[in-house]
């Protein structure tokens, strides 16, 4: 047995945490879990290593315990470890608690009928009962803290689970005077909130119920694990569940008051958590007045802690004018404006406060849709300190820009808009002086923001056009940024007039350049801009064509035969061919193309130019646009000519590439195994289709591709299916798997196919699971072997396995209650193909499972007195856990 030594665990656990899927491709979750548990049980393993071994279970419980039954078994194993851990191994016991909590919750094992869940919860409750280190001493405080947090997580995941234990929890919270009182208070408050919430869901709940709730000291409320309470948030007032009670809520009121009073003793993070729970309690119980928070307000208003101030804002959202006066509101808002630029706070906090301003919970909100909006009280004067400057970092600058744009738009403040424009010009100057890439991106983002608010301000918009053109004249490498800006403004604004003006200006600027002075490098960018201009229907293209023609005649471009440049020019021509005012440039464009097809020193470019020329001179306008229309936005394209391969925009080239489908289009449906196939296949999946877009009703040349998720199988070859129509019988495909190790696996599947319109698509299919029994094969011997020979082989194999010296083989015994089904039924339905002894009346049945590539599992099944007994022998001990769980699954009466 190649057991990894304790030293090798650290890299293995690190490899697992780094990428569980890659790690498990070399082994299986079952095997890895088995190894972890084995070394956890091993006394020779050090405590530090054991803690390390628990981390995969803490972080990836679902990967290691894919089913509830494995989860339950694992939790039981961990509980046993906890019971046997030396009392002094506190760190290990804390980690065990966390691991058990993670496993139980994630594998959905927190249920009444799961024994280990009950006993673990009992353990947690027992642990937290040792208040003030009475019994175990202060060393155990860490364990108690952990137990509190585990219970809190249980209660959070299953609200109401502890709701019948309020009195006991209250008592513990009161007793505890060490720093742990915070953990107890948090637990109690959460349980209280959930209990009140539960009560509010019951019809007719009244004062008496509330009273008995607080005095409850019973078992866990397992119902909470079956039906989860719907969560609610207090910021959306109308959805709050309400508990209708009369004024007599004295007990609850004193409980809440006491919690608030002691909240000062909590650290800020947990203080804010406590406040949030209490806000929900007070919001739900009508008889409790929000004024109960009043005594805390001043302290909260002044706080420098972000989570406490955030709680205050949530409180304001919940109670508005029933707790906060107009002066409070004014004060809070000024406070936020001040904090959003406070020199002592870090950037992310300031950004968060700016977000809070734009979502400020006003007492009388103008909009309820949760979108960004400016509070009425924020005037240009108040916001002046948030004006962006060139000294801000990018995020702060853009955030301030956005806020101030809103302020000046709302106030219709010319002067302020002017300031923002000046700020943009200051940024432009930095970009102009070779600012960093970050500054360039920030500048264009700021321009986009500014224009999206003030595009209607003609004066500034025109000045912006001018200054962008100037910038471009010095830095033509900004062409991609400018094209991106025009594209986005066109996409986001109703009025694209500004974009036309900018493109027009850029076009003029470029075409007026003396050809002799244009460098090859800058020409590349100019052609990109002209290509973008050529897409604009409202811009006259005559000057572009003249410029290009002039360029070809008077530069040595044709002679050099630069393929990229040629393509850049052709890309413009291509856009021009689709331009509505093609007529205006028809002759010039024809001349240009003709010139290129004769003179350009590159065959490919000449060919394309000829192709365009032919299209231009022979096709009608409708046909031309039909031929050239590209991309899904334009409609279903019929032609995907290579002519656009170098066209710069992604949409155009997308026609040539394989596009992903938005949703899965294909499905592999497994046909029921008829059990008689002699080939190496595991069932017969077929392709079929559910509700899909009519585009996908007829598919051609489907290529199914399978990827392995581990290294236990040989790579699979692709499967081709000629066609698939929605109204015809789906074809059947066979998946042939060649195991290297006979472990269950799952295959990733995807397909590439073509639709009727000629487009190619890529789609993902659901994973194909390969279960352990799928690998079983009958004894690979000639079919005409007599039964006696087979039995002889079986016996010989059995003997050799029992006597095996190499310790590779394993012998095991499995017993089960037969229950209602007869043993015969079980054998017939699961081992029929593998039986060695055929007589039905035989007391002892033998079955031999062959697991490719070379493993054997031998079973002797017989009826014992009150149970059935299966003796198992195998030549690979690593198969043992799979065999066990398989036998368990087929013999489980459920």
């Amino acid at each position: 047995m190649a057991a990894p030594g304790p030293i090798s665990w650290a890299p293995r656990v690190a490899a697992f945490s780094g990428s569980p899927s890659r790690f498990l491709s070399g082994t299986s979750p079952e095997a890895f879990l088995g190894e972890l548990l084995r070394d956890l049980r091993d006394d020779r393993t050090s405590e530090a290593t054991k803690v390390l071994l628990l981390s995969p279970l803490q972080e990836y419980p679902l990967v290691l315990c894919p089913s509830a039954s494995v989860g339950e078994e694992t939790a039981e194993a961990l509980m046993a470890l906890f019971a046997h851990a030396p009392p002094k191994s506190l760190n290990l016991r804390c980690h065990l608690m966390l691991a058990i909590t993670s496993v139980l919750i994630c594998t959905s094992c927190v249920k009444r009928d799961v024994k280990v869940a009950g006993s673990f919860l009992d353990l947690l409750v027992l642990t937290i009962q040792d208040t003030n280190d009475h019994k175990d001493g202060s060393a155990f405080r860490l364990l108690r803290a952990m137990a509190c947090d585990c219970l809190r997580e249980m209660e959070t995941c299953f609200p109401g689970l502890l709701s019948q234990k309020l009195e006991a929890l209250y008592f513990l919270k009161q007793q505890e005077t060490t720093t742990l009182h915070q953990a107890y208070s948090l637990l109690y408050t959460l349980v209280l909130k959930n209990a009140v919430h539960l009560l509010s869901q019951q019809t007719g709940a009244g004062d008496g119920d509330l009273k008995s709730l607080l005095a409850g000291n019973e078992d866990f409320d397992w119902q909470a694990t079956e039906k989860t309470l719907p969560p609610f948030r207090v910021s959306t007032m109308e959805q709050i569940p309400m508990l209708q009670t009369s004024t007599e809520t004295k007990e609850l009121k004193s409980v809440v008051s006491l919690l608030l009073e002691e909240s000062y003793l909590h650290n800020p993070v947990s203080q804010s958590a406590l406040l949030r729970e209490l806000i929900q309690v007070v919001a739900m119980v009508q008889a409790l007045s929000p004024a109960i928070f009043k005594s805390q307000l001043l302290r909260l208003f002044g706080t420098m802690d972000i989570s406490l101030l955030h709680s205050t804002l949530l409180m304001k959202g919940a109670f508005t004018d029933s707790l906060f006066t107009t002066e409070d509101e004014n004060f809070l808002l000024k406070r936020l404006l001040g904090m959003a630029q406070h020199p002592l706070l870090n950037t992310s906090q300031k950004l968060f406060y700016m977000d809070c301003i734009l979502h400020f919970p006003e007492n009388r909100p103008m909009s309820l849709n949760g979108e960004e909006s400016l509070p009425v009280l924020v005037t240009p004067r108040l916001a002046i300190s948030l004006l962006p400057t060139v000294f801000n970092d990018s995020s702060t600058m853009l955030c301030r820009m956005n806020l101030l744009c809103l302020v000046y738009l709302e106030a219709d403040n010319e002067e302020g808009v002017g300031y923002l424009y000046d700020h943009l010009m200051a940024l432009r100057k930095i970009v102009d002086n070779h600012g960093t890439r970050e500054m360039t991106t920030t500048f264009f983002k700021a321009v986009f923001l500014f224009l999206s608010y003030f595009y209607h301000n003609e004066k500034l918009a025109n000045e912006m056009t001018k200054s962008l053109c100037e910038l471009y004249s010095r830095h033509c490498n900004l062409a991609p940024n400018l094209i991106n800006l025009t594209d986005q403004i066109q996409k986001h604004l109703e009025d694209p007039g500004w974009v036309i003006k900018l493109l027009n200006a850029l076009q003029n600027q470029i075409v007026e350049l003396p050809v002799s002075q244009v460098s090859l490098q800058s020409l590349c960018w100019h052609l990109k801009i002209l290509g973008r201009v050529a897409k604009e229907t409202q811009v006259s293209q005559r000057s572009t064509v003249h410029f290009l023609f002039n360029l070809l005649i008077s530069s040595d471009l044709c002679g050099s035969g630069d393929w990229r440049m040629g393509n850049a020019i052709l890309a413009i021509c291509r856009n021009l061919l689709q331009h509505p005012s093609l007529d205006q440039v028809f002759v010039d464009l024809a001349d240009l193309l003709q010139f290129m097809m004769h003179r350009y020193e590159d065959t490919d470019i000449r060919d394309h130019a000829r192709f365009y020329y032919t299209l231009l001179t022979n096709l009608s306008r409708e046909k031309l646009s039909g031929v050239l229309a590209m991309g899904p936005e334009v409609g279903q394209a019929k032609v995907r000519s290579l002519s656009s391969i170098m066209a710069e925009s992604e949409e155009q080239s997308s026609c040539l590439t394989i596009q992903p489908t938005k949703q899965p289009v294909l499905q592999l449906v497994r046909l029921r195994d008829d059990g008689m196939l002699g080939t190496l296949c595991n069932g017969r999946p077929e392709i079929s289709k559910g509700e899909v877009d009519s585009l996908f009703h007829k598919l051609f040349s489907i290529c199914l591709h399978f990827d392995l998720t581990d290294s236990n199988y040989e790579e699979m070859s692709d499967i081709s299916v000629p066609c698939l129509f929605i109204n015809r019988k789906p074809p059947v495909v066979f998946l042939k798997l060649k195991p290297r190790q006979p472990y269950p696996t799952s295959l990733r599947a995807c397909a590439i196919f073509t639709t009727e319109d000629g487009l190619s698509w890529h789609t993902d299919l659901a994973d194909v699971p390969v279960a352990f029994p799928d690998i079983f094969q009958p004894l690979p011997v000639p079919a005409d072997w007599p039964l006696e020979t087979r039995e002889q082989l079986f016996e010989n194999l059995w003997k050799s396995l029992c006597a095996d010296e190499s310790r590779q083989s394993a012998i095991s015994l499995f017993c089960f209650e037969i229950g209602e089904r007869s043993l015969r039924d079980i054998i017939d339905s699961h081992f029929h193909r593998f039986l060695i002894s055929k007589q039905a009346d035989q007391e002892l049945q033998k079955a031999l499972l062959f697991l490719p590539p070379q493993f054997h599992v031998l079973l002797k099944i017989r009826n014992a007195e009150d149970a059935a007994r299966v003796d198992v022998a195998m030549d690979n001990w690593k198969l043992l856990p799979f065999i066990n769980s398989y036998l368990k699954s087929i013999t489980n009466p459920a």
Binding site: L98, T177, L398, Q488
Partner: protein
Amino acid sequence: MSIRALWIISHCKGEPGTVRFSKRYPTVERRAREMAGAKYVAVPEDAAVLHPLLTELALTDPEKPFVAARDDCARPQRSPALELRLEGREGGALWPLLAVTQGGLILACLPLVDAPPEPRPPLPSLASVSQALSLLAGLQAFLCGPGGKAEADLLASRLAILPAVVLQVCPLGTPLDTPQAGLPPAPSPPAAGAQKQPAWKPGGHRGRATVNVALSEHVRSMQYGSRTKQDLWDVFGTVTCKCELEGVLPNVTVTLSLPPNGSPLQDVLVHPCVTSLDSSVLTASSVDDGDGSAFSGPYKFPFSPPLEPFCLCSYTSQVPVPPILGSYQLKEEEHQLKVTVSLKLHESVKNSFEYCEAHLPFFNRGQLTNVDVRVSSGQLEVSREKGLLVWVLGQKFPRSLEVSLGGTVSFSGQAQGPVEPLCTGLTAYIKLYFRVPDLTLSGCSVDQHSVQVYSSAKPRISTSRELVSSEYYIWNSTGDAPVSSGLMML
């Protein structure tokens, strides 16, 4: 109020970045899945997080000037929360990912959205966000130390104990505390009476009782020497306390007082250990200075101190004059620059510096070659490669309270010097660095006798004050200085 996952990533320019620490919270993940339903996007493995995160922070493909996924002008880069667009099979987007970068270190975490994912809830409505920001700030301080710079060996040793720290502060995804640098004190035994031990004060103090209150004021200034641009300066202060007192909850009151006619302290922020506040302490705000009836002290802060040093409160203040008024003139003359600087200390400021230096950097001009500069006081240090003149003024201004510097400097265009796109042509600045002990500009002070301590033993009380410069710029008045604040508009 929980987080789904946490990452610590180190990243150097031009390198792909490595995940130094990561932690997932599967039980929180389960809640996220239940809440989001069909819209659920799982947290992918670390490798699949790294590249989208670096793209979102604009740290990928440094050699490419424009990458649509990174530089699209319509992608907001405003909020502290990023949207992580995942690549690969499942795709989808993770939001709101909070990330803090410092040096080569990226700290990121994904708070739980405890609301239906669509329409996307506003960030401030999510309780988990501020908790996550606190956690990140705490981790940042823990990993990088107080200086804020992550040094390799400190970082390595802190990363080694990080799992244990995370176990304490956030074992199951719900933050319980912020990480503390240094070892936690031994847990104190439960107090005899019914008084509960504050959670932020795990132990007690034994020994000599001391209280130390330090008032530190920073002054920022932008001086333009121009008729069209108004000079700006402001002050912000912090009061740091270290209290070593016996008892579970000893009471201390620190009182800040202002001189008569002093302008009120604004934007007062207090530490959570302050027990109560008078509302008038909080009224003055820098965003709205219209309130004439402003309160001007004394500012009383009653609190019960934690064990470690902490920032009791902070404030900002508007003072009538800057401590040092300067003027800076640069003139381009043939192949050299003519430099004239004068600095004047305001008479109300104590002329007793710990240090005072004026730095004159020259950008985008190559390296300094000839420096022919005279100073009326102090010494001049020249750093040719850095293109920097350092004028060390020492401890005192001369009796006239005025000092000047004049002369010419020239540069070699061939050798590469420092580059700064903000400072081209005659746009240039002087930056001042100084510290004056026992002084505040606002006049704010803590009298030793005004510190009240309610404790069994009489403590030794010490107080101190200082004024430190911070971003103190004097711009060349012959050049075009960038505007530094919107307050110009007033």
